[in-house]
Symmetry: C2
Subunit: 360 residues, 2 copies
């Protein structure tokens, strides 16, 4: 048996207001005055002066606002990289992602593609990246995805939705400032937090689980219950703890994998463009068969927070579309093996997935 | 308010038998055939062929067996560094510590002192190290100290017991192989595990606590209870989980601090040479006033595992000796501030510590 040598984020700062220390974190990493820091920032912050005015811009540094209405695409990464190369005198000193999972994944992918030839789609898979990425920093503004700590960056390419999984993917620096999540709309707060809850369930119920993943996963799972079920924490405490749950939930997947909800949600995203957080929730709501206790708790949380999950999103799909979704979902073999075991192909058939999809 | 930018161990491998992958982990880090890897190994393994035969020795690599009957000393670090410099053709490729907290701390300190001038005692304190240490790897063979993940290396110097706390202290690579803890004697298993339990109590009850430290601390605390109180886990499960508790417990101190037990235990070690794990237990047993719930649980664990804590170790000490111990304990200001608050000097007087010490 051979174990993975897991790369961890080598530097993390945690604290309310720690975003204000960004300048002192970046300065020692500036390569030259002509080598800019590029800030990839979620477009929703364009008018948030409280955030933008605190982004430390010097010399040739640039803020690039990026819409996250759609899930991140390989073509979007390629376009960003081309733009950065064309507008920078020298290779950038670093890429700083400020936003949710989409922005964090884009920042990781852009940092990789600035030192690796070809197109982003060439690197979708496991351990295909050849060269170290440039210095990259992740600053989450919503909690739950685990993108701040993971060794993947999930992208929709021309033929599949799949991450760039590599030892060079993790951020060099993460800033965990719970105040940055102040402005998250309630529904997004719910769906993104549920991303954490759901991947903890998938990790804890998976066949790949070991003590490393279990201890991180249980911690994050319990925090999600404390926040979304018990609801006794103050707003600040809940923000602080949810940011840590996201971190620990991401660490939980280091040695395990996600499972059925993520695999099927990738199918929804690929075909319908469904965003990751809400897609997970739409799928997970129908997975009692695989995760009975988790789904029971999830339904309670949906009720407590008065969330209206979309329904009927697959009702009008053609057989061809359904087959496309099923194909995407089934291609994620490690997820199914983790969820159901080595013989998963005997249990998880296209027919079974079709029956599940048309309920959604 | 300014927050610490915490350095994390950038690479970790976890799994039963992962020690067998040591060669593949080290190889890419070999600088040249004349730049050896130096393995600092606890002397108790000298006759453990199952361990020694699996240490991957090539070229000029050397195993140095180190006795851990005493707590690690700055003079011991200096002697090891001198020996390594005199016997190696080139600066070593790396230092690999295989053992408990003493060996791990020695490995970290030796790696630092190979690139920094002067003597180890010059660096006891906070952020005094100037140059990056050489590549260093930690492989714990007993669980609880957190030395595998911390940014300190605690040493007894000529004038004090104090760590070399720096961003260069943490290991570059940690190997968490729970099978390596197979041979730990029961009493040592208990005392070292209690090191974890006690520093979690100190962190969780401290004034420095934030959500980062709290979530790690609670996880480790709960695992300790599961192992030492409930006792329902299989031997393997307990080994696996205790190794993770040690890791998480160490992370918990990143943003907080230890407290009363550690401060007073340092005094015992300095004067009497009491080993850290047992010293913590001897002190903690008398700290109901500060940690009532923790001490209650601790006493139960002592009873369940039929541990005979030494008593009367301070009974015959002179006033001068007691004053020395009290001086060492009181010098650890951050620990007291964490434990009791900014006004700790009003509460923690030499008289109070004397009354506690003479009960031990």
């Amino acid at each position: 048996m051979s174990y993975k040598n897991f790369p961890m984020v080598p530097r993390v700062i945690f604290g309310r207001g720690s975003f204000n220390q960004l300048s002192e974190l970046l300065s020692p990493n500036r390569l030259s005055n002509a080598a800019p820091f590029i800030f990839l920032v979620d477009d929703v912050f364009r008018t948030e002066i409280n955030v933008t005015s605190r982004i430390p811009i010097s010399y040739q540094d640039r803020i690039v606002y990026v819409s996250t209405k759609e899930e991140p695409k390989t073509s979007q990464v390629d376009a960003l990289v081309e733009d950065i190369i064309l507008t920078s005198k020298e290779r950038p000193s670093g890429i700083i992602g400020i936003g949710g999972g989409s922005i964090l994944d884009l920042a990781k992918a852009v940092a990789i593609m600035l030192t690796n030839e070809g197109n982003a789609e060439d690197y979708q898979g496991w351990d295909l990246v050849k060269n170290k990425a440039i210095y990259h920093v992740g600053i989450p503004t919503i909690s739950g995805t685990g993108a701040e700590v993971s060794r993947t960056t999930v992208l929709t390419g021309p033929t599949r939705k799949l991450g760039i999984n590599s030892d060079f993917t993790p951020f060099d620096q993460v800033v965990l400032d719970p105040e940055m999540t102040n402005g998250a709309p309630k529904e997004q707060w719910f769906y993104t937090g549920m991303d954490c809850f759901i991947h903890c369930v998938e990790s804890l119920k998976g066949t790949y689980l070991n003590a490393f993943s279990r201890t991180y996963g249980e911690m994050a799972y319990n925090i999600c219950k404390e926040i979304y079920l018990d609801g006794k924490l103050s707003k600040k405490e809940a923000q602080d703890k949810l940011m840590m749950a996201s971190w620990h939930g991401g660490m939980s997947i280091a040695y395990s994998q996600v499972g059925v909800a993520h695999a099927m949600s990738y199918g929804l995203s690929y075909l319908l463009g469904t965003k990751h957080g809400i897609g997970n929730c739409i799928v997970f709501n129908h997975l009692e068969e695989f995760y009975s206790e988790g789904v029971k708790l999830f339904k309670k949380m949906v009720e407590i927070h008065n969330i209206k999950l979309p329904t009927g999103i697959c009702a009008d799909l053609s057989d061809k579309d359904l087959d496309t979704m099923i194909g995407i979902a089934l291609s994620l073999e490690p997820l199914w093996e983790n969820a159901v075991g080595k013989n998963w192909k005997k249990i998880i058939t296209p027919k079974k997935l079709k029956a599940l999809y048309i309920k959604m």
